[in-house]
Subunit: 239 residues, 2 copies
């Protein structure tokens, strides 16, 4: 028993326009994307429901299917929107680093790689913060959807960064560069999602400052890759 002719949704006449931001009413697809991003982040694809998303967006449940056809395609739209944003920032930062030539080291390459994601994931507020938990899920998943989305959105940027690594460490073989890159991805992902583990294990000794996180991680990864370079050089020397 629902109260008759209840006007619960945003375009109903005379409802308070809580979706206005600075006088700009946002469009329904965008409202749905934002709500979906938060709900998918909290619950995962299977745990999330289109009903919960519609409720969070303050939108009629049927509009999700009108605008996005299916839950599956909604998820893909959520994933695509933010990953393109991140990779655009990464590309710009990487280009700036590479333009400066040999004066900057390998560390700076990983700062360019990590900063956009860590900033997004560690933001105090804002929509992007939710995406961090989604990408952690997708990037480490082995199901068909995860593999497809990861490949579609991150293969190109991966090749760019692997090339940059090889450029900064002359003679590095393809295997070491790839492994180094994948280790950077793994560390980056672990910094994005606030599992609270650093705080628990260090009893509060771990910094949450984005600059410190990024620079320490970049130094860690750069040193690791140089160790891989030495190992494969040694291996070649033995034969």
């Amino acid at each position: 028993m629902v109260e008759p002719t209840a006007l619960r949704f945003r375009h109903s006449r005379s409802t308070p326009e809580s979706d206005d931001i600075a006088g700009t009413r946002r469009e329904t697809p965008e409202l749905i994307l934002d709500a979906a991003e938060a709900i998918f982040a909290d619950s995962g694809f299977d745990g999330a429901t289109t009903r919960a998303i519609a409720q969070a967006a303050n939108v009629n449940p049927a509009l999700i299917h009108y605008h996005f056809k299916s839950k599956e395609q909604l998820f893909e739209a959520v994933f695509a929107r933010r990953s393109e944003e991140i990779n655009a920032r990464r590309r710009a930062l990487l280009a700036a680093v590479m333009a400066r030539g040999d004066e900057v080291g390998l560390e700076e390459v990983f700062v360019a790689f990590l900063r956009p994601t860590v900033e997004l994931g560690r933001a105090r507020s804002g929509q992007g913060r939710h995406y961090a938990r989604i990408v952690v899920h997708v990037a480490s998943g082995t199901d068909e959807r995860s593999r497809r989305l990861t490949s579609a959105r991150y293969d190109a940027i991966a090749r760019d960064f692997i090339a940059a690594i090889e450029n900064r460490v002359p003679g590095l073989d393809r295997e070491a560069a790839t492994r180094g890159y994948l280790n950077a991805v793994a560390i980056g992902l672990s910094l994005m999602a606030p599992t609270g583990r650093a705080r628990t294990l260090s009893q509060g000794a771990c910094s949450d400052d984005v600059d410190t996180l990024v620079e320490d991680a970049a130094a860690f990864i750069a040193a690791g890759i140089k160790a891989l370079a030495r190992r494969s050089a040694d291996k070649r020397g033995q034969t």
Copy 2:
């Protein structure tokens, strides 16, 4: 429309005993745990259904609730069984490394940490291989269940390894040791789940050999931690 009095389950008279292994009939709870491990790995907690698990176990659906009370408690049992096995192996390997005193380096600590999980995740066959994908999910999740299970099963071993790291790198501060450990976890997780990404990005140049994976990763991590040690020493020197 089900065929009348179909004898579809394992304890029905005169069914072929395909669950016998070397003449030992395995118990129902164990059959359920094994099936659940595979299904949860493929589909995640929310994507898995108790019906699918029962079918894979060749067991009546009601028995899941009889033996494990709920889907939730079944998942926890699956997680606990294998994590205890892994951590027992890690503890034994770590003790052997530490007993050898200063003659072995930091790398060996991470070989002890990584080998049990990478071997499990990369096994050609066997049950354990499924657990790898489950732990990747749980360790990177931010939901209440993931945090609780990770803390319950991995806090103790984490403290042991952080202590070992501090033992091998004199003067290393707590923050660097914790970050180094968490980076080792991140890299270890990325090696456990076969996302196929190394093969894709390196066009087949990446080895799948467990020894190579473990030793390269251990060298990478050890070098990264030494870089963190230098950084915090520099920072202290500045003040």
